[in-house]
């Protein structure tokens, strides 16, 4: 079972993946990264190391899809989930070929994911920054909701003014569940876990 975490650059995908994995009981991150050249790299990192290495304030820190395997204890048999962190998709045509290539790998994975978790930066609605919600989010939503289990995670809900943003997002993406989360403070992780569990069979 593969849960794909997608969204625009710098909305907090990597931090969400790491913190969510640790919330699900993971102590050590075993990173499997498929580079753009097709080689699979395996790295073992402690959670803190992983955060330091993978999360940054700058956009496009993640340059390749990275999967983290987690076992969720639910019922008698633990179930295996791969949470896949992806390259953020920016608006328009990116000027760097390398990043375009990396983003293409995300787009390709979108079609094969079992569950799509779509992160939106709820603190940047109406802004012009790279992580602000925009046309790309619309297209991801309209595509992914037809593919299978799909939810929108309104991230950065810990920032001020987020209640407004949340109702705006709910209004805009009516028909799709929108869960307020904070990758930083781990708010809403319980709901995300129950959503994922519900769609794992």
């Amino acid at each position: 079972m593969e849960a794909l975490v997608v969204g625009k650059p710098n909305v907090g995908k990597s931090l969400f993946v790491l913190n969510f994995a640790s919330y699900l009981g993971l102590r050590e991150i075993r990173l499997e990264a498929v580079g753009s050249d097709g080689r699979v790299l395996v790295r073992r990192l402690s959670l803190e190391d992983a955060k330091r290495k993978l999360v940054s304030h700058n956009a496009h820190k993640t340059m390749a899809a990275q999967g983290i395997d987690v076992e969720i204890a639910a019922g008698r048999t633990p179930r295996r989930l791969t949470i896949v962190d992806t390259v953020g998709i920016s608006e328009g045509i990116h000027h760097m070929a390398e990043i375009r290539q990396a983003m293409a790998s995300t787009l390709a994975r979108l079609g094969t994911a079992d569950i799509v978790l779509h992160l939106i930066d709820s603190s940047r609605i109406g802004h012009k920054t790279i992580e602000a919600p925009g046309a790309v989010d619309e297209e991801i939503a309209s595509y992914a909701r037809q593919l299978g289990p799909y939810i929108i995670l309104a991230n950065k809900i810990d920032k001020p003014g987020s209640a407004d943003a949340l109702s705006q997002l709910r209004e805009h993406y009516r028909g799709t569940p929108v869960i307020p989360v904070s990758a930083l403070t781990r708010r809403g992780f319980r709901e995300v876990k129950s959503f994922v569990l519900r769609h794992m069979s």
Binding site: H94, R100, L107, G111, E139, I140, Y143, Q146
Partner: protein, 332 residues
Amino acid sequence: MPEPDYQPGYSQDPMTSREVLAWFEAGRLPSDGALKHLQKLDSRITDGRSSIRAPSQESRRKRIDSVLHELDGLVGLHDVKNMVHEIRAYVDVQQRRLELGLASEPQTLHMVFSGAPGTGKTTVARILGRLFQTMDVLPKGHMLEVERADLVGEYIGHTAQKTRDAVKRALGGVMFVDEAYALARGGEKDFGKEAIDTLVKAMEDHRGEFLLILAGYSDEMAWFLATNPGLLSRFPLHLHFPDYGASELAAIARIMLAERQYQLSADADRQLTEYLVRSEGHWHVNSGNARLVRNLIEGAIRRQSVRLIRRLDMATREELMTLTWADVEGGL
């Protein structure tokens, strides 16, 4: 809908998902455009409509059509058939609107059937139950046929209990109250009024969980609906079942005979049609319409048996199947 052309000089759209990604990597498509194309080319969505989602959709359509086909097979009843087709279209559209997140009218489809006995009210109600079941409006689609005696109790407090029990049995299907006007006939102190109130309350409590059909003679039903001001507004659909004409009754006779593997001799068929035409308009109001035809046919079948019993060993297959005018006439 024509897709906007993202890059002058490339008038064609990418043909495969792989091509989309290649174009995207080459900087020929913006992110949202690429996603749009991927969505359009995704076989799980485009083909999926015909291969994964569609079979259930298609078989659902087929099942609905087969139920409607059965309805259309009934003789006459043009207005009723049109109304049922309208209801079907309405329910389908409302469901589709709901899927797309549009405001959809709540489906209150409770009905009043008015018409003389033997005009097909029960038959149509039964078909409606099955229709709504295949359309996922009602989970079970069975039909519970009740009359005054099934709803009205014998002592104070008994009626509400009895009516609620009946509703409980009808949940998920159709509750067909035959001769519904009888509920209001007893006057002010009658328990029938309590039964009506309980039914009205159940319609609110179990909104959308069952379909209530009140049936009865036209005049009495009009009077009945007038007695209780809340009733008329709660039954948005009124279906009138007209009396059958002569040719329709003849057609019904032929269908009933074919079901029983009998046939009319050419002479009997002509005479019967003539007789029905002659007496059209002279029937007693409640003479029974289709039921009258059934009684006529069953009588004719019995008389044919009497006619044949004396020389049963010599009777041919043809003779065993054929009713003569003499057989039919005896019942008129």
